[in-house]
Symmetry: C5
Subunit: 332 residues, 5 copies
């Protein structure tokens, strides 16, 4: 699917859903800039836009079409024989709520950013893209005066979209903390490790994206006008906060794991205590009972009138003394 929008440099929407054959003409108009959004495009569409219309460098087309885990940014400046204009190619990852494999399933979003065009390429629907499109069409003026501005809005929206996922994670961690203390079971360990994995995944997603955005924040690229650099720095700060949170989550989870492991080894300790308690409590009875179960002929105690009473009393008293002794020594 191709969606295309043309804006004037005054920030007005010029046209929408432009016919393909019109695009080359619009691109020559210096008062316009084009945003073409390729969502899960057919190979023909991809070929037309990336190769025939813009003649992008084959490497960047390859990186765009192939799935990749690593965000990147690369500036392609044309040489004499090249037919493309100076452009930035960027790969960034957005949180994807349409996929169901964990909180931080991500979709790749590819940018081609030039003086008067912005091409976005993604395999599945990304909310940030459609949201920014809506805002650009409605609230034009402020947002849609230049491709670097639109790109900023896209990136800002992508970073903002991490936040609900982070809050979900934060809730899960708080729950796990309760669970580890109150009722530690095998399932708890599994959940702890699952969440830890997701936080690690988050850190792995965020880390390289931070590095990519740091280059924007430092103003390394000619295509980003200097007065927009603070805006990109703001996006960078957002990512920085996310990675700080991820660090916090990691530390919390390590703590929770320690609580869990301690609780679980405490349980064994408690069971051993119970075993010992039972042994201790029954020992006097078992000793006396076994002893006077012997069949010697000359065990005078057995013949005594109050022998049984004495034995029973000794048993009860020594049981109580034992119990009291270990109670006082805080064994139990």
């Amino acid at each position: 699917m191709i969606r295309s929008l043309a804006f004037t440099t005054q920030g007005r929407l010029h046209s929408k859903d432009i016919e393909m054959f019109l695009m080359p003409t619009l691109l020559t108009d210096t008062n316009l800039f084009l945003w073409i959004d390729l969502e899960n495009p057919t190979p023909e569409e991809t070929k037309f836009v990336l190769e025939e219309l813009f003649h992008f460098h084959p490497l960047s087309i390859k990186d765009c079409v192939e799935a990749s885990l690593a965000p990147k940014v690369e500036e392609y400046s044309p040489k004499e024989e090249d037919r493309f204009a100076l452009y930035l190619f960027m790969v960034i990852h957005a949180v994807d709520y349409s996929r169901k494999d964990g909180v931080f399933a991500t979709s790749e979003l590819n940018f081609f950013l030039g003086k008067n065009f912005l091409i976005t390429y993604h395999d599945c629907h990304i909310r940030s893209v459609s949201l920014t499109e809506d805002r650009a069409v409605k609230g034009t003026m402020h947002i849609a005066r230049a491709p670097d501005r639109v790109a900023y809005n896209l990136l800002d929206s992508i970073v903002d979209n991490y936040k609900p996922a982070l809050e979900e994670l934060s809730l899960e961690i708080a729950e796990l903390e309760q669970e580890a203390l109150a009722n530690p079971s095998k399932a708890t360990l599994n959940k702890i490790l699952q969440v830890k994995k997701e936080v690690l995944h988050l850190r792995q997603i965020i880390g390289p994206q931070r590095e990519v955005l740091a280059r924007f924040a430092r103003g390394e690229f000619k295509l980003i006008r200097p007065h927009l650099v603070p805006y990109y720095r703001n996006v960078y700060d957002g990512l920085f906060q996310i990675s700080e949170l991820a660090q916090l989550y990691t530390d919390s989870l390590t703590g929770i794991l320690q609580v869990y492991l301690n609780m679980s080894s405490n349980q064994t300790g408690e069971v051993v205590k119970l075993l010992t308690l039972i042994t201790v409590i029954t020992t006097p009875l078992m000793m006396i009972g076994t002893w006077y179960g012997m069949n010697f002929d000359h065990m005078h105690e057995l013949r005594w009138k109050h022998g049984y009473l004495v034995a029973a009393s000794v048993m009860v008293i020594s049981t109580l003394v034992t119990y009291w002794y270990f109670k006082r020594k805080k064994w139990f």
Copy 2:
């Protein structure tokens, strides 16, 4: 709430609680500088001061109004069309004793620092701000000759305010050390992990603030006059000491955790020892008792006159020997 103070460059207090309509006039007077403190201001007040009076960059206003975990400093230098003067925007976090969620609850403090103005913006009362205000009004002369000097005093006071919280933490850690050795319980583990969390939180607060202040200490900003740079370096050293202390606390807590875990597994070990001791001590009696409880017709020992005495003696002696043997082998 808006509080405003105007000082002459000679360090005298010129006026206080200035009417809003007078502010623009005062700002044009090169012999004066203004400190406007916005504490939990209404949106109208915010708008008037930040937008209408100073025309600050919209990004810095957004960062100021929104809560954020990350301290930052950003220099905004105006371009032709911009209506604001060169200024520094800074976000810093102060310890907040009015909030009750842990020792290191923090409040955000925003600065706008210009040649002849200092705007501070915060959502709740911050002691350092009111203290510095008092000192600036009373002890003028020395402190209140320029906004960068006032800003230094504010930062210095904020860093100083961390110290009581650090001492509280230090006491808690010393207590935990005692508790882990003397009486390790589930509650102790919980406390250890709670304090560890707070120390981690402290390190997360301090770390980025150090980086922000390092930029001042290196004299990166034109608005800070060179002879004030050592003062800022001093504030930086204060933060450095705090983060060293935080490192020390982390190490101590790791040690305490090791003691705790060892003590807790030692307890189980002790219980197992007790169980074994009881088993060992009662074994001779149980063996003899069970053996002579058998009902064979031809057990001559049972008929012997002193059979019972011999059995009892054997039992007592072997119990003592067993006990002595394990005592000597230091089992118990």
Copy 3:
């Protein structure tokens, strides 16, 4: 074995399996470039190509012939008395499926890259080399216009060859995760540690290679034409992704190890619980049985008509109560 290929700078194959005595002549032709592949060569072949034909620096020849764990790249620029031309010497490691000692057995591949020649030297057959050779011969034009282009294709193919090994590893890790939860045995621990070792090995292989390729990606070498630098950067990105994966694998394995150790200590805990359960359940019977096994003359209970019934009932009831009590307290 020596294989040699000569290409024209237009990208056509000029000649193949060139006689040794012809090589010097071909090297003087500026319209040609030569690729000589030495696979497990005889000392004479090595000597002829590296020393007599190209007069390479003795240090690079030594590094080439000796096996080494460390990848490296070194630019040799000739001085007046030297008889060699400017060249790059590079050592890189390819995954070697022909060896059987683990997934990431590697073979060393040595490059000598000059303006108009590429020498590859390796002790055993490397698939990437023969594949690139085939592609260069067939699909000439695009690939085979210059040695730096061929070198890129080789490096790209080597990095691609890591991927099947990585996927194998990924499957093994997923299996181990299942196994650690379902059926943790000594063999599982062994496998976990084995896979961890391989991942560590992978990281040790990839780390220094990344550093070598980073120098290409930064465009440090004159012999790599600037418009090829993005290609090398692409290879670098591939390595970067591999090392990210390796990091992910390490983290997963650490988690799996934690699960394993916990499951294994849980097993002991379960066994102790069983022991305690049996002791608890049998205690009432043993106490009553032992007690009424005593031979006192005056134990009236023994004479009662329903004494036995009462004793049996008490035993059954107290067993049930004990069982129910511990059941309710979730001991079991």
Copy 4:
């Protein structure tokens, strides 16, 4: 207490214990330089020397008078209105044997180093200072030709003074290693953690001091003449060795802790083994004894003539077999 020494630039001692009112005169003599040592001075002395005589920057005076954990070095270069000459202010920490809280109790030593003066300020007696004083007075000529030379000697002596403390630590660690293997008790754990704390403390002291001295070693300061830089580099190397040792100690202690924890969990394992051994050994007797203690009427074995003998033999044999079986399986 103020001690003061004046040396000629030829290295001779000019005068000692100079009257305060003479100091300003001596300072104007370009052929002399002054070393003033303030040991626990009265506020008046401090004020006279630091403020009235040298007019030092108020910040450096504040840093000097206040206790601080962080070593630092700062160059103060005067501006027009300032009345002090260019000087270095340095805070360094010396090992203090007079205090009793651990091996690495430290005292702060403050330096003010100028072209023709050296002021040292410390709250308690520091051996290195008095030693250097003695050497400067006796062996003048070589040492006492310039303040930067004297400062080097002081620093060298301070670093040397760490060595006895390090050796004490090294002995303690060797002892702990023995103890952890031979006789691990709660006290051992405590000692291990105590020593670890001290090593961590040492590293925290040394780390920042190394950074301070690295700036000298790099020749960053104009007041240190270039040909003295290797000397300062030597002091830096001394600190480097100490921090290497501290690293070694940390690693050793981690190893000792592992031994300790293993030995302590081994002890529990041994106790469990003993319990099992006793159970195993007594099982045949208990089974036979309990079985033939039954009171069934028709137990023919009980009536057999050699029943008892057979039972006893079976018991002895099965006990021996059990023992031998577990002995062979290396259980015990």
Copy 5:
């Protein structure tokens, strides 16, 4: 002991074991260079060579004579009043097989490297030195044309000498891996920690030496001619490989330690399982035996004709059922 060699710049041996009084003359001859090797020299020899002959800087003489753990390199360039020529002073550590305290006992080797001289100073015999001496005398021409070349050969030989020690270590680690799995005992733990200590020691030796050689590899020193820099880089690569190996060894040992600790806690788990097994198996017999050992008058089972048979059968069957039940649940 002093050994001295003079070579011509053409690489021929000029003279050997030169009389001390001849040395100054030889040093003035620009066609010669001198290698003086001081092995455990007398103070007089040291003084003559280092002080009287070359007038080296007193700091470097002090560093040379004193033992030190830290390798270093320092360039001493003379000032007007100094009487020495530009020289490099270097301290490096060689593996010393003559000492018996561990695999990586090292001896210090000091270099003084000038334009036309090389002084080596060491307290005990170092094989690399005598080997290089022999090679320089025999295979002159190539090696012995300049002091920087000889120094390279020395360093190369020293690095090569680490390899046998590394291989020994590698064998020990492989053995430990077997032992930890097959037969983990206290001695194994001790050996693991011993070897870990040695590997840590190795890393501590290698780390700083790498830094020293990195400075050579970067061509920082004027006294090393540029075309020799790749040779020094080669030595650096050797050290790099050693430190990579050391990293690998550390990782292996950590894995072995985990295996050991797991095996050792598994052993306790197995013992507990055995205890439980015995308890489980004997429980039916003990219950029935104890129950029918009671002396109630009215226990009709005792009077039944087949009572004993029934009891025995019940006992055998329930024992078998219990055994089979736990067998099926994989408890044993």
